[in-house]
Every structure is written in C-alpha cells, then in structure tokens.
C-alpha cells in the first residue's frame, strides 16, 4: 500500500518521538538514578537531608525560617535571608503557615521587583515597594542586633525616603520650583523625614491619593554608604530557599544568639567558623555560612534552657 509522502513523514516523526521518549525520557533518567545510588552520590540524589536522632530536620541545601508563628525572629537562632517564596495551590502541599509563606520549597520564587521600585501603595490593601522592604528590614535587624540600621534612601522610621514633587517641569523633566511636595511612603499622620524641600513644606501622604503626576525624587540622606546591616540580610534571594548568609551577617547575629543561649560569644563564633565555607577552589562564588546547619549544631551543642 502506498501512502502519501506527508503521511509517511508524520508517521516516521511519531515513531521517532516514541523511540526517543523511551530512550531519553525513561532509560536515561533511570540510568542516572541507578548510578546515583552509589555511595557518595546517594545522599545528594536524595536531597542532602540532615538527620538528627533518626528524624529528618531538613536539607542542608534548603533554607528554613527561624521565626515564631507571628513572623518575629526567634532570638536563639541565626536568622536566614528574606525569602519571597509563595504558597502552593496544590492540596496537601500548601505552606504550613498561610500568613508566612517564606522558605516554602513547594513555591520557590524571587521578588522580581526592580531597582527603581520605590513607591509604596498605602492603605489597608497596600503593598510595600522593594525600597521600603529593604529599609524596614534594615531597621528591624538593627534594633534586634543593637546596631545602627540606617541606610541610604531610607527614612528613620524605616520606609523609602521618596518625595513626590509637583510643579512645572523643566526640559529635563525636573521640577525646579515645586508647588507641593509629598513624602510618598509616609502615610499621615507620620512626620515627614524632611521638613522642607526647595523651600516648600513636605506633607505626609494621604492613603488612596493619586500622586502619579508628581516627579519621583528619592532622597539619599546622610546614612553611611556601607551600612552595618549587610546587603544579603535585607534582600531576598533568587530561589527564596537560600540556605546561606554572608559571614558578616552571621557575625552580626553572634552576640544575640550567644546571649539567648547563655554561652560565651566565642563558642558561637567558633560554630560560625565551623559552618563557614570560603569560595570554591578559592575563586568560585562567595564565602558563606550555612544557617540551617549552624542552627542545628547550636541546638545539639548548646540547647536552649527551657
């Protein structure tokens, strides 16, 4: 029987795809899986789980939250980086706490907020800009660790220091003689971080008011360019599951953790060093401290007295 060429062609395509599916879609991954059962590979293939007393307490590759049910940091633990993971809509795989979905492995995600995301939406169903998130985290960590939490472009009350300036625009888009100035992220009745701007009194922002017509002017302020709270502590990771923090952020937390656990700070610093990894081969990646392993080790060696 002679089939038209185009049918023969598509039948060949179908058979080819089925053969490839068996070879590359089943045999190949299963072969990798089989070899991965060898000692030395097996732990990694299974998810690098940390076992303690016969119980799994996580994976050394997947970060965890060390906060209470209300999201406040548990002081006996080193804190992880901010996480932007999301909930899972799949039944049985939802994040354990619907109000705090950080470090949820069934919903890995980044914030995806851009470098000029500086304007909050105020009000009850509002949202924080990336700048305000950074400022608020820095302020909270500063207070928790007892250091200066100020940052450039942040107000003392921990939101983005951004003005909306109204008035006629020059050719470069700037407002030279403002008629009205609003501190965009400080909802009334907050006291604006600047009293006046170009001679005009700065107002607080009324939630719900549309400020789009004003020119956006972030204000640098006098905070040091190299803040005490490290960069990784105030920014969310790409996966939301980052198990690491920078050595600087770990050292910043050492005193508080030592105090809460009632051990000399040297012991905690030693634990940090034991869980610190330098760059791979001296030049790949960054030095880092594994928070999950560090906290687990502290719980084993210096349990918190109830």
């Amino acid at each position: 029987m002679l089939m038209p060429t185009w049918i023969r062609n598509h039948l060949a395509a179908l058979r080819a795809l089925l053969v490839f599916t068996v070879l590359l879609g089943l045999l190949y991954p299963l072969a990798v899986m089989a070899v991965a059962q060898l000692p030395g590979l097996r732990g990694g293939a299974g998810g690098s789980k940390i076992e303690s007393g016969g119980k799994v307490v996580g994976s050394r590759l997947i970060g965890q939250s060390f906060t209470g049910p209300d999201g406040t940091p548990l002081p006996q633990y080193f804190q992880s980086r901010p996480s932007a993971t999301i909930d899972s809509p799949v039944k049985g795989q939802e994040a354990p706490n619907p109000d705090d979905t950080s470090y949820n492995p069934t919903g890995s995600a980044a914030s995806n907020l851009g470098p000029e995301d500086v304007l909050d939406t105020l009000g009850d169903d509002g949202s924080q800009s990336l700048l305000t998130q950074v400022c608020a985290r820095s302020k909270a960590i500063g207070e928790l660790e007892g250091v200066d939490g100020s940052r450039p472009y942040c107000t003392p009350d921990g939101v983005g220091a951004v003005l909306k300036v109204f008035g006629p625009r020059g050719t470069d888009g700037r407002v030279t003689r403002p008629t009205r100035v609003v501190s965009a992220n400080q909802a009334c009745p907050a006291v604006p971080f600047l009293a006046t701007y170009e001679g005009v009194r700065v107002e607080c922002a009324r939630p719900g008011e549309d400020l789009a017509a004003g020119a956006t002017v972030p204000v640098r302020g006098g905070a040091p360019a190299d803040p005490r709270v490290p960069a990784d502590a105030v920014t969310a990771s790409g996966s939301g599951l980052d198990p690491h923090i920078s050595p600087a952020y770990a050292r910043l937390q050492a005193a508080r953790v030592a105090r809460t656990r009632g051990v000399p700070v040297e012991r905690v610093l030693q634990a940090i060093d034991a869980n610190r990894r330098g760059r791979d081969l001296g030049f790949m990646g960054e030095p880092r401290v594994n928070v999950v392993q560090l906290n687990h080790e502290l719980d084993t060696r210096f349990p918190v007295r109830k």
């Binding site: 492995p105 470098p115 995301d117 990771s237 790409g238």
Partner: protein, 553 residues
C-alpha cells in the same frame, strides 16, 4: 582575593576550559556528522522509525521532515500535559490548562523553554522527564542538524542533497548530547543536585516547624537543560534553586555546559568546509561579542547603580549568597548570549543597565555563541550579510566560502534577519496597546515596559529567560508568546534550509585577487560591526524607552 578579582578569575577559567574542549569536541562533532557508517543501535532505531538512513534529502524534503517532527512533538507534548492526572508520578497535580499546555509544548519544542508555569506546582515527574526533558534533547539536536545542513550547503558543489534529517537528529541526540549529559548529570548529583522520584516529603524543621521538601529527576534534566541551551527549570526558581544548582562549582559547570557546544560547533564548521581558519574567524566574532557583553554585565552589576541597589549597597536582590553578584552576572550574560534562558538570579531585579545586557544579548540574535546550532547558523547569516555589504562597497558580486551571494541568497538572509525584530517589536507594541497586555506588568514606569519587551524578545529569539515579574500565565500571553516562539523558530529554519539548498546547487567560484578574505581580523571586525549596528538600529528606540530611561537619569 577580593570579590571583583574572584569574579574575573571565574570568567577567565571558563574561557580557558572552553578553549581546552574546543578542538576535541569540535572534531568529534565533525566525525559524528560525516561518519558514513551507522551504529548497530542506530540501524535498529531507523528500522523502528521506518526511514532509510542512506537516502539523502533535498532541502524541501529536509524541511518537511523537520516540520513534521516538530508538529508531532508539539501535539504529543500538549496531550501529555493535558492527561497527566491519569498518569503515574503526577504528584496530585491537575491537568495543565489548555493555553498553558500549548505555550509549554511550543516552548520546549522550539528550544525556548519559556515557562509560564511553576514546575513544582504544575508538572508531575513523568511529564518533566518523559515529556519536557525529551524535547530538551531533540530540540537541541534539531538546531544542530539545521546548522550542519547550512554548512553542507557551503561545502557541497552542484548538489541537490543536503543529508538526511533523521540521521542528523539521531546522531546529534545519541552520539553528542546523551553521553555528555549523562556524565554531566552524575557530576551534578555529586554536587548535590537531586535525582529521585519522591513526592513532596513533609519533614520537621530545626526550629520545630514543618517543611515540604521536594524531589524529582532533576540532575538528568539539569544537565541537558544547560548542554542543549534549553533552560527550562525543573523548579520555578530555575538554576537559582539549591536543588538545581547547589554550589558555586556546579554553577561554573552549568555555565560551561551551556557554552561548550555552541562554541565548538565553529570548529566543526571549519572542518566540514575544509578551512579551519574560517571556523576560527566565526569563533572570534562570537568570542569578542561574548567577552564584551559578559564584562559589561559584570561591571554594571558590581557598580550597583540605582536607588534600591544603592540603598542596599550591592545588587543582591534576587541573587543567591553562594554565587554572589559577579558569578550571577556571568550566568545571566551567558544564558542570553546563548539561547539557554536558564537563570541563577532574577534579571528583573538587576540594575537598569545590568538588566539591559541580557536583553541586548538576545537582541543580537543570540549569536555569541548562540543556541546549539541556532547560534552557528545565525552567525553565518550575519557573515553572508556582511560580505554582501562589503560587496556593495567595492562593487563586486559578494562571495562567501567560494559561493556567490546572489539575489536569491541575500533574500533568504535578509528575510531571516527580519523575522525576530518584526515579532519582538510588533508583539511588544500590540501588548502595550491592549488592556490584557499591559495588565501583566509587575513593575511600573520604564521597568514595566522592559518586562514586556523582554518577554517578547525572549520568546521570539527562543531564549526563555524573563524579567519574571511579568504575569504571563494568562490566555493572552500564553497565546501571543506561543505564536512568537513558533514563528521565531521555524520561519528562520525554513529560510536557512532554503539558503543551504540554493548554495549547495552552485558550483564553486575560484579565489581571485578581488575576493574578500573571510578569515582575517578585518572580516572579524566587519561581522562584529555589522551585528552590533544592525541590532542598534533595530532596537535602540525600544531600549531608550525601557532600560535606558530607567538607568540614565
């Protein structure tokens, strides 16, 4: 060692490693595509498929086979996702909804691997490994086959035949991709990439809470995802996820894997046309563009300009602590210089100019070094356009590799070049003109436009990375971007095959004193210039409204 220096050494070590494998891998691929014999398993395979491996095809027949295989692939992958609830290892997931299943099927078959879904919430293990990952192999093998056909077009004299698609496809997948992927997967497992069939496992945490730890056949998919310049992550966070990319050295390895074949193919090209230096010239153009682009991306990211990066003190938003800013930037540039689109950090949160670089890399047409195969044929098209431009300047009929570039050839080449800019600019314009198009933006102002522009650039160039804040899991975007991916892949492929057919039919010309030498630095500089100028003329207005408006104020 300070961070910047470590970043430079990281980049330098990649260049060195690529130089080391360039010759053996390029020569190996040459032998694969020119071997007159067949392996026993291949003979069996051809019998099962029902094709005669020694029957060569014309360009038209070759194109029909490519299109038939791709059409069947899209259809089956679509069906696979739609019935996953009845299949084993589905993890309790619902069928993928129709528009998303279409988008994903097209995305993986076109080697784009754009993802409007989150892997860990949508795709069961079976769909991932027996559906999506199979396309990772075969879509890459199709790309390599097309490149080899174009090279044969230059190499053959007075021939109507260009090879056999089924043979090129099988050899690319089994002899090149499979062995390297297998070794790569095992090395990744050694680094901590998971490889199992487990469902999410609820475990206690250190602080006494619970966590659902995910599993999956990740390593086997990760290796081919990079090697085949596919880029579709097993998980939503892609190569930022610690189970896909657990350490700085696996990060290095993944970048190496995604660059190795596209660069080495220029050696294969040189071998097939019988002039190694022609291959070196093409590799030099790719290398220059890549080094400049990666250096700029790293510089912009380390300078961390912009309000939020300056408040933070570094461009760390969306990056992993173990990789850091510099190595993330190298990944971001490499994944967009090729057609990979995997990400180890989130480009949407990059500085304005740092985030513009991935966009520009894709707009270059992904030719430095480009996707597996697609990069080589894209760059050869640019070389053809360059000899044409040079021919116009001196008033001679342009030639390349002993073939006349006449009106038919230049029509194929210029149509090829016009396809993706037309899709990108028209697509973005339509999106900005419609309510559903604009609704997708997460960020406001110029950055919102950048998100949409990036989406259409990525889809039309078959990259797959994103300014991921954009909400593309909608009927509108799934459909529009799906169309961009199909047209952006197969129109250029048909044009390349047509060009190859037209070249192969010609006899050869003789080299004379008036022939433009195409292996000298002069030609390398000209191709580089033509590439950059064409792209700048096409896309500068769009870039001025997006990343440039954001970054230069």
């Amino acid at each position: 060692m300070n961070g910047t220096l470590a970043g430079v050494v990281f980049f330098g070590s990649l260049v060195l490693a690529l130089a080391v494998v360039y010759r053996p891998l390029g020569d190996y691929m040459y032998r694969v595509y020119t071997d007159p014999g067949h392996w026993r398993i291949e003979r069996l395979l051809y019998r099962l498929v029902g094709v005669r491996p020694d029957a060569e095809q014309t360009w038209g027949a070759y194109a029909r086979s490519v299109l038939a295989f791709s059409a069947i692939s899209i259809l089956l992958l679509y069906a696979f996702q739609r019935v996953q609830q009845y299949l084993p290892l589905n993890l309790g997931f619902d069928p993928v909804k129709p528009d998303q299943a279409w988008n994903t099927a097209v995305s993986f078959v076109t080697n784009t691997n754009w993802q409007s879904y989150a892997g860990e919430q949508t795709m069961g293990h079976l769909v991932q490994m027996a559906g999506l990952a199979v396309q990772n192999f075969v879509s890459a093998a199709v790309g390599m086959a097309i490149a080899i056909v174009l090279v044969r077009g230059f190499a053959r004299r007075g021939s109507g035949h260009l090879g056999n698609f089924w043979v090129d496809l099988v050899r690319g997948a089994l002899r090149i991709l499979l062995p390297i992927a297998f070794v790569g997967a095992l090395v990744l497992v050694a680094g901590g990439v998971v490889q199992n069939l487990a469902s999410p496992d609820t475990v206690g945490t250190v602080a006494g809470g619970t966590q659902h730890l995910t599993g999956g056949p990740v390593a086997s998919q990760e290796a081919i995802k990079e090697l085949g310049t596919n880029g579709g992550g097993f998980y939503n966070a892609n190569s930022a996820h610690p189970f896909e990319n657990p350490t700085p050295w696996t990060n290095w390895l993944e970048i190496f894997l995604l660059l190795m074949i596209p660069f080495a193919l220029t050696r294969t090209f040189g071998r097939i046309v019988g002039q190694l230096r022609q291959g070196y010239a093409i590799a030099a153009v790719m290398g220059i563009l890549a080094v400049v682009s990666i250096s700029l991306t790293m510089t912009f990211q380390l300078m961390h300009q912009g309000t939020v990066p300056e408040a933070v003190g570094a461009a760390t938003e969306g990056t992993e602590a173990r990789f850091g800013v510099a190595n993330s930037a190298v990944f971001a540039a490499s994944t967009t210089l090729t057609s990979t689109g995997a990400v180890n950090s989130f480009h949407d949160s990059y500085t304005a100019l740092g985030g513009m670089m991935p966009l520009v890399n894709m707009m270059l047409g992904e030719v430095a070094p480009g996707g597996v195969g697609a990069g080589l044929y894209g760059m050869l098209i640019l070389a053809v356009i360059t000899v044409f431009v040079a021919g116009l300047m001196v008033g001679r009929t342009p030639e390349y590799l002993g073939k006349k570039i006449g009106s038919r050839e230049i029509k194929y080449a210029s149509l090829y070049f016009l396809v993706t800019p037309a899709l990108v600019l028209a697509g973005t314009a339509v999106a900005m003109a419609t309510e559903s198009g604009r609704a997708a933006m997460l960020n406001s102002g110029p950055h919102g436009l950048s998100e949409v522009l990036y989406a259409f650039t990525s889809a039309s160039n078959n990259n797959g990375s994103a300014f991921a804040g954009v909400t593309v899991n909608t009927v509108w975007y799934d459909t529009a971007l799906g169309l961009c991916m199909v047209l952006g892949r197969f129109l250029p492929i048909i044009l390349v095959l047509g060009l190859a057919g037209s070249l192969a039919r010609q006899g050869g010309t003789h080299v004379s004193a008036g022939t433009l030498p195409t292996h000298r630095p002069q030609f390398v500089g000209m191709v580089t210039g033509v590439t950059v100028i064409l792209v700048a003329l096409t896309f500068l207005p769009a870039l001025a409204l997006g990343p440039l408006a954001e970054g230069l104020h």
